[in-house]
């Protein structure tokens, strides 16, 4: 039973979400010859990179036992800043956009740390407020990129592979290694798994959480900038509902809301599952809104499977 639990929840063995990813890959490649082409696969990676980048940071925050609802708004603000400040300097614009994301993450982290209030509440406030900041800054206007280097970047490739896909995969690798191999990564698990024990062991819980909120802020901003390069523009409503998509991807990947459990490989699987579903159903000309229903069903199924396994291994009274 323990082996089964390990198997399903992502130890050394293959994670269930990857079984699902492989299954739908096979399904769609049978349905469409074009699906497995390099062009389409890199297309999927580019499409998922936005959610994927945020999900990398969100995984850390959720392993901490927290959650960040403000990522969609942070993404929107970063995109607007990166496009809107281009007239002064492209480098400056991008730097300011990223720095803003990190700063907003720091603010969230600081509030969670210092007040001990549920991250859900703190970041819900930020989600509403940061969206307000976007509207104040843009005056409800969409911005269009004036610097062609900016929008060219979004479409550039190295060999056959789009730069955005490469950035996403590189970030995934780095975040995976940091989580698995470094003191910060391991402490992230400790803080989420047993905060009291972490505190007693001298781990600075608050600092650890704050860094993770800054990480997710960074990735939300980065995703915003990159999304803006793809569109060559930003709109004030950019990134709405992205927090929901991101959390969905991370949960699909096996990270637990209660903290102390999760992995970047799982999250990558979750992100790809969403991306492949959208892409594949699009190719089969299924209207986009069916994906919403299917995703909801999958999310609930994952919960049910996860619970059945845990209940069996716990053998306790279920209340």
């Amino acid at each position: 039973m323990i082996d089964m639990k390990r198997f399903m929840s992502g130890g050394a063995a293959i994670q269930p979400i990857w079984v699902f990813v492989i299954a739908i890959t096979i399904f769609f490649s049978v349905m469409s010859d074009y699906f497995l082409s390099v062009g389409n696969l890199s297309n999927i990676l580019v499409q998922t990179s936005t959610i994927g980048l945020i999900a990398l940071g969100m995984t850390y925050v959720m392993i901490n036992g927290n959650i960040d609802l403000s990522v969609g708004a942070t993404l929107g603000l970063a995109a607007s800043l990166a496009v809107g400040l281009q007239e002064y300097s492209l480098t400056l614009a991008v730097l300011v956009a990223i720095a803003t994301g990190v700063a907003l993450g720091a603010l969230n982290g600081l509030l969670v740390w210092k007040t001990g209030v549920n991250a859900f509440i703190v970041t819900l406030g930020a989600m509403i407020g940061v969206r307000g900041l976007i509207f104040v800054y843009t005056g409800e206007q969409s911005f269009y990129a004036s610097n062609f280097a900016f929008s060219d970047f979004g479409a550039s490739t190295i060999g056959p592979i789009p730069v955005l896909a490469i950035i996403f995969l590189l970030c995934t690798l780095v975040m995976h290694l940091v989580l698995k191999k470094t003191g910060h990564g391991r402490n992230t698990f400790a803080v989420g798994g047993n905060p009291e024990a972490a505190l007693d062991a001298g781990i600075r819980i608050g600092r650890n959480m704050m860094i993770n909120f800054m990480i997710v802020g960074f990735f939300a901003a980065l995703a915003g900038v990159l999304l803006a390069t793809q569109m060559g523009a930003s709109t004030p409503n950019l990134g709405r509902d992205y927090e929901l998509w991101t959390i969905t991807a991370v949960v699909l990947g096996g990270t637990k809301l209660t903290g102390g459990f999760g992995s970047i490989t799982g999250t990558l699987g979750g992100v790809l599952a969403i991306g492949i579903l959208r892409n594949g159903m699009n190719m089969m000309q299924v209207p986009a809104f069916y994906v919403l229903v299917i995703l909801g069903v999958i999310l609930i199924s994952v919960l049910i499977i996860d619970q059945k396994i845990n209940v069996k291994s716990a053998k306790g009274v279920t209340v």
């Binding site: 470094t182 003191g183 391991r186 400790a190 798994g193 972490a198 001298g202 781990i203």
Partner: protein, 524 residues
């Protein structure tokens, strides 16, 4: 023995040895209460010094001051003659003072090695964990403790006893001078205890000073060289273990001598209130059959993990039996949920008061009426006067100490909390009352009160099933005793005719005959 003699004992036993650690006149105040009042305490290298006291006497607070979790308001901590200030747990740890908690303080989804070195993982450049060093050092520590598991095992896969070993292993990282064990055996089975004792003795031989906090006299007398007693936040003397006995220590603890309970005589009881016939829950317990009659107290005795609580939970409708039947009042009962059980007159005072028994954030009155809301409401609406009457009735009957019914139960002492849980069930006027570890973690005074209450209830006709892992409790209250071992009933004894030896044999499986059926009643 008077206080003067006691203090002398501590002086006499010194024989010139100087303590490795001294706490001098430690005072700790919390808003509105003095938790420790000028408490002094010392530990010598290579001794086990037991710290005793009733709940609330200040033992844990004293140890938290020592471990840097609380700042004292006055007094000194001297380690090897040097005055120290421990303002963080980490600093205390670095100085060689380690606290082993009664609560598990491990991170479940991490390896044993990572848990041992939690917060001080060996690192290479770039904040990377040095896995090689980590596992080498962890394995070395585990070997010293003669542990059978690997440093790479996941903590969530270990048994409770092994988890405790990991906690102890963690203590050895800093080459400790002082190790504090706070109720270390609370979650261990009798098989696992000797391993812990061995470790403690090993540590002691290595010259570590051990502070051992426990409620259990047998352990204390088995392990310790000296015993110190706290009462109401004040130091109440130290005695040499070799020169004293349990009575004397109890007297020091509670200021009076505890009258030993006598087993109740079996007499003619009424009809069967509860009868289990071959009750089985697959993988948990099997073929459990016994009965409880009206007016009778049946004790269920066994080790933690023997399946006692699970039997109770099944009777209470929380587990689904895979075979066998439950008869109530001679009728086969249909129990699909706790709601069914309550409706049919079953009451369960659960094992874990705080997690299962009470809504800590609710006030006393609301907790008291929670299981019998129908009786204090009409057409769904609560009748607050009726509620208050119910509360007053049981508050007075059980002498529950609380300033008002509005007090949140989370703010009451363990004994008073337990009385609220019992009151909650008495109010439902059950036919069968099951009490699972009714006095765990409760101070000696309240314990006696609860025992008296249980007997009184039986006298008024309740059928009572008491589950306990404390032999004096089982012997003290039961008319009959059911022994369980490894998910099976192994023996049944009359309350007045059982020897302690027989009981111990029964719960360690020595009465089981070849085919697993209970042996004949070994009544003298």
């Amino acid at each position: 023995m008077n206080a003067e003699a006691v203090t002398q004992a501590s002086g006499a036993s010194g024989r010139g040895e100087s303590p490795i650690l001294s706490l001098v006149n430690i005072t700790k105040k919390f808003p509105g209460v003095i938790a420790l009042n000028k408490v002094s305490f010392d530990v010598r290298a290579g001794e086990v010094h037991a710290l005793l006291g009733e709940n609330g006497a200040g033992k844990s607070t004293l140890m938290k001051v020592l471990a840097g979790k609380h700042k004292p308001n006055g007094g000194q901590i001297l380690l090897e003659g040097e005055e120290k200030v421990f303002d963080t747990p980490k600093r205390a740890k670095k100085s060689g003072i380690v606290l082993i908690h009664q609560e598990q303080s491990l991170v479940p989804e991490m390896s044993v090695a990572e848990n041992i070195f939690l917060g001080s993982l060996p690192k290479k450049w770039g904040n990377r964990v040095d896995w090689k060093t980590l596992h080498r050092d962890s394995t070395e520590i585990l070997d010293r403790l003669k542990c059978s598991f690997s440093s790479k095992d996941m903590v969530s896969d270990l048994s409770i006893a092994k988890k405790q070993m990991v906690e102890i292993a963690r203590a050895l990282v800093f080459t400790p001078k002082i190790v504090v064990f706070d109720e270390p055996t609370a979650s261990l089975t009798d098989h696992e205890k000797p391993v812990l004792y061995d470790i403690i003795n090993t540590l002691r031989e290595q010259g570590v000073g051990i502070v051992y906090i426990s409620h259990r006299m047998d352990e204390i007398f088995h392990l310790s060289q000296r015993i110190s007693v706290l009462r109401d936040g004040e130091y109440n003397g130290t005695v040499n273990t070799a020169d004293t006995n349990e009575d004397e220590v109890t007297k020091l603890m509670i200021g009076r001598s505890l009258e030993l309970d006598h087993a109740s005589k079996p007499k003619d009881f009424g009809e069967n209130m509860l009868e289990l016939r071959g009750l089985t829950v697959d993988g948990v317990f099997s073929d459990v059959s016994f009965n409880v009659r009206k007016g009778e107290i049946v004790g269920m005795y066994g080790l933690v993990g023997a399946g006692r609580s699970e039997v109770a939970e099944t009777i209470f409708g929380l587990r689904k039996p895979s075979a066998g039947e439950i008869l109530l009042d001679g009728q086969v009962a249909r129990l699909h949920s706790s709601h069914d059980a309550v409706a049919q007159g079953i009451a369960l005072v659960p094992e874990d008061r705080k997690d299962q028994g009470l809504i800590l954030g609710m006030n006393c009155r609301d907790n008291m009426t929670l299981a019998g809301l129908e009786t204090v409401s009409s057409k769904g609406f609560m009748k607050s006067r009726a509620e208050k009457r119910v509360y007053d009735k049981y508050q007075q009957a059980m002498k529950i100490k609380t300033p008002s019914w509005r007090q949140k139960v989370g703010n009451l002492s363990g004994g008073n909390q337990q009385k609220i849980v019992i009151g909650k069930w008495l109010h439902t006027h059950p036919k069968l009352l099951i009490l699972d570890e009714p006095t765990r973690g409760i101070d000696v005074g309240s314990k006696a009160e609860i025992h008296a209450l249980i007997k009184e209830l039986a006298n008024t006709g309740y059928a009572v099933l008491v589950i306990s892992s404390e032999m004096p409790e089982v012997l003290g209250v039961s008319n009959r005793i059911i022994a369980m071992y490894d998910g099976k009933v192994t023996a049944e004894f009359d309350g007045d005719a059982v020897s302690e030896d027989a009981l111990v044999q029964a719960i360690t499986g020595q009465y089981v005959t070849g085919d697993g059926a209970p042996a004949e009643r070994p009544v003298a």
